[in-house]
């Protein structure tokens, strides 16, 4: 435990913010490697719709067309 409670609480805030970025990165990585939204959602323990809504637009903007390594076949 950090000595100063404020430090500990701030760590929670920092972690919450970092978690979002980490999720974005991991979802993107899975998608680029050919994972389907359904499979990604399953591992995250949420619905396919939720993952798609949160990540699809961003990831598609980063990879116009199909990302490298991802083929129609494994979608």
């Amino acid at each position: 435990m950090p000595e100063d409670p404020r430090e500990g609480l701030e760590a929670v805030v920092a972690l919450r913010r970092t978690l979002e970025a980490l999720e974005a990165a991991q979802v993107e990585n899975a998608f680029v490697l050919g994972w389907s939204w359904a499979r990604i959602a399953e591992v995250l323990g949420v619905s396919k719709q939720a993952v798609h809504k949160k990540h699809a637009a961003r990831i598609k903007a980063r990879y116009p067309g199909e990302p490298p390594g991802r083929t129609r076949r494994n979608i």
Partner: protein, 169 residues
């Protein structure tokens, strides 16, 4: 509503604060983001005081990130390692379609700004009032950030008063 009494420079700096918060991945607009907004808008006595004391936007952004990184390491997490592991896709920015609220401390700073304008007999709320308002908020992140950059609230207030006196004469 308080926003209607904002001077143009204040609107600019608050909009800039929202941008800064988004860029830094802050899920609420904190008092430190209001400070970053003032630096980014770079208008008026507040910005001039800060820059005359050697505070730049880049330094303040770096300091904000350093504070996040230190907070994480206090619970045993290395932001650097996370970044390295996640690679390019690790992006803290908050997407444009997600709304972010003002934090309670930021709201308090803006309320205090109103009081500061009243005390100084000014009709419009300028970024000087906002900066003074920030300094009134207990335990606020912006003040700690400024301290880390070597600027005390008293020094900053004195500098603003100085520049205000110069503008009036």
């Amino acid at each position: 509503m308080i926003f209607t009494r904002f001077a143009r420079e204040t609107r600019t700096s608050v909009e800039a604060a929202i941008e800064e918060a988004r860029m830094l991945g802050h899920d609420s607009i904190g008092d430190e983001d209001l400070l970053l907004g003032i630096l980014r808008a770079d208008e008026g006595i507040a910005a001039e005081s800060l820059s005359s004391l050697g505070v730049t936007l880049e330094d303040a952004r770096d300091e904000s990130e350093r504070m996040t990184s230190e907070a994480l390491s206090s619970v045993g997490i290395s932001l650097e390692d996370l970044r390295r592991q996640a690679g390019d896709a690790f992006d803290v920015r908050i997407p444009a379609d997600r709304r972010i609220p003002f934090s309670p401390r930021a709201k308090r700073a803006l309320e205090q700004a109103l009081g500061e304008a009243r005390v100084l007999g000014d009709n419009r709320i300028t970024s000087e009032h906002v900066l003074r308002g920030i300094l009134r908020v207990d335990e606020c992140t912006a003040v700690r950030m400024l301290a880390r950059l070597g600027v005390s609230p008293a020094t900053l207030e004195d500098r603003m008063s100085e520049l205000r006196g110069r503008a009036a004469s």
